[in-house]
Amino acid sequence: MKSEQIVIEPVRGWQVIDWRELRDYRDLFRFLVDRDIKVLYKQTVLGFGWAILRPVLSMVIFTIIFGNLAQVDSDGVPYAIFSYVALVPWLYFSTALSASALSLVNNTEMLTKIYFPRLVFPMTPVFSKLVDFAISFVIVFVLMAWFRIMPTARMIFLPLLVALMMLTAAGMGLWFAAMSVKYRDVKHAMPFLTQILMYAAPVVWSGTLIAERFGEIGRILFGLYPMVGVIEGFRSALLDTGPMPWDMILIGTFSAAVMFVTGLFYFRRMEATFADVA
């Protein structure tokens, strides 16, 4: 056994991120992601069918209300697939964000009984929720075949968009998770917040409305919300609703990176108090 020395001292203020320690615990991270995935649909009749059913049912409701009744513009593609292509990244984002934000308050038992890098908690859902995302994504191709829509070559950029969507969920998740230990308000605010965030993103409406209503400046400002670029990017790549919105994606990447890095440091700063106030 290699000898190592641990020094424990009072911690104050900002902390650096201990990458070496995170690497030592990578197996734990894997097993936690694994656990999340295995446990999610245990003792359900539909099992992973829920990963399909949830976005499909949302799609049906949105198509009836926004597509048929409210006649929301859908960039020239059938409203059903227009909303479904947005719902796939959106549902990933909202479930990963909520799970990440509540990961500490839902695990206080572990928090107060055992030590391991706390960063593992909020990062786990960011990866485990990808399974649902992948399953529901398959349905996109079924719908595209049904509506006879050919994907574009811009599909090669999808992994980039997926990475951006994960970064956004992780960044916001870190902030809310760190806050939630002391301020349990987060727990009560989360369902409401994800709803607001959904209507702020072009899930049920088209991103082209932004430029129409708020001009180019509005478009840039909206881009600060990374999910706007992600969803519009998905539509561009799969449904050919327009060119890839690179400007928005770039601004979104910038703000997601800022949120993630500041989130990491804020989390580390709050980390020392978790066990005491949990």
Partner: protein
């Protein structure tokens, strides 16, 4: 046991210097007499709540009213290969110390150096998920405790065999009996490869046979030269496993030395009935004397457990006091808390006028088996504060009541009532 590792200039495994930990306990809430004031307070409460929550994790140098030191100025060193027991009453700071050493919470002052890989067993089965199988939980729990997957792979068969759950290893843990779950959880923890092991009261799992197995395993662990720091209320475990003990009182380290000496000191930190000096508890109560009687005759420390006896608390109320709680924690000689009782059970919580009082608690005969017991005086004001919590202890020795050499194990020995029917015969009834 490992005395040989001392004096060889063995490297220190644990060095603790001036360790302290303070907590903010939320400030007491103000009371409002009128509806208007209450409504005002309710409107302002988000602001006040925010201030209060923010303070929970603040670190103060000063001695603010809502700051308590759970641990103060604790220093000690432990050599490699030593097995050290930490004993002390509830709230003495034992668990806080282990939490700091296992990095769950940072200290407020001081410094700890740990030489070697540390693993801590503060609770068995942390992170066990009922929906996962035994196998999946072993891997998850093992990695939570700091093992790599490869290590769990190597130890897997050993763990499963130790827990005696081979047949059910691919069954979800929720179908396990609680005993099986505890055995599996302990088995994972017991097979951790580390240089320093921090253990908090986790040996008390499973039935007697499994506990014996756990103790043997712990002894094995200590024989291979690993350093162990063990918190326990079970003095037998401390004496059996440890080669040194540390006594903690009110967040400070007050004694260290051979386990038998320290355990003796901890237990005898109690009074023979007559030696109590009058002592003032807060501004309301002065404790004068504790006396014991059996059959209406003053008795000393030695009593017959078969007949009822009385413990008398003589005290003065110094100023009018409401909601007074006055009574005992009754603790067995090995530190196991048996029960608590207060005189409010008959006297109620109404105001007590100043003057001399005597509260008498009678314990029915035959309830407790022979052995040593401690009556810890607890005095407090309900929902407000403790005036004395276990600092005044009375030691009593109960002699055997049953004149037979049949063994009656257990923490209580009520006589109960037996009726024996011999079926098929005419009739024969004994009581």
């Amino acid at each position: 046991m490992n005395a040989s590792s001392n004096g060889q200039g063995a490297e220190k495994a644990i060095i603790v210097v001036g360790l302290g930990k303070q907590y903010h306990i939320g400030v007491q809430e103000a009371r409002h007499d009128t509806l208007l004031k209450s409504a005002g307070a309710w409107l302002a409460s988000p602001v006040n709540n925010f201030r209060r929550l923010r303070r929970l994790s603040a670190v103060d140098e000063g001695e603010a009213a809502d700051v308590i030191w759970a641990l103060r100025d604790v220093s000690f060193t432990i050599d490699r290969g030593e097995v050290v027991g930490i004993i002390g009453r509830n709230g003495a700071g034992k668990s806080t110390l282990l939490k700091i050493l296992s990095r769950i919470t940072p200290p407020s002052a001081g410094r700890v150096i740990l030489n070697g890989r540390v693993s801590s067993l503060l609770e068995v089965g942390t992170g066990f998920h009922p929906e996962l199988t035994g196998r999946e939980n072993v891997y998850l729990n093992g990695t939570i405790l700091g093992m790599r997957k490869g290590e769990v792979d190597r130890k897997f068969d050993e763990i499963v065999a130790f827990a005696e759950v081979e047949k059910f290893i691919d069954t979800p843990v929720k179908r396990y009996s609680s005993g099986m779950r505890m055995r599996l959880a302990f088995a994972v923890s017991a097979h951790l490869q580390s240089d320093i092991l921090l253990v908090d009261e986790v040996l008390a799992v499973g039935d007697a046979a499994f506990q014996e197995k756990c103790l043997n395993k712990m002894e094995g662990v200590t024989r291979v030269g690993r350093t162990v720091l063990l918190v326990s209320h079970n003095m037998q475990v401390i004496q059996r496993l440890c080669n040194r003990a540390i006594l903690m009182q009110k967040g400070r380290l007050t004694a260290e030395g051979a386990p038998s000496a320290i355990v003796g000191r901890y237990l005898n930190d109690a009074l023979a009935a007559t030696t109590l000096e009058p002592v003032e508890l807060g501004q309301q109560v002065r404790m004068n004397r504790l006396t014991v009687t059996q059959d209406d005759i003053p008795a000393g420390e030695y009593l017959d457990s078969g007949r009822p006896f009385e413990v008398h608390v003589h005290y003065d109320i110094l100023e009018p006091v409401r909601n007074l709680l006055l009574g005992f924690n009754v603790v067995a000689g090995d530190g196991i808390a048996l029960f608590r009782t207060y005189d409010m059970l008959t006297y109620g919580l109404g105001e007590r006028a100043p003057g001399p009082y005597e509260s008498v608690f009678q314990l029915p005969g035959g309830l407790l088996p022979a052995g040593q017991y401690f009556f810890e005086v607890v005095v407090g004001i309900h929902r407000l504060r403790w005036l004395s919590k276990g600092d005044i202890r009375l030691r009593l020795n109960l002699g055997g009541a049953r004149e037979t050499d049949v063994d009656f194990p257990g923490v209580v020995s009520p006589v109960g009532s037996w009726t024996v029917h011999h079926n098929g015969d005419a009739a024969g009834e004994h009581v």
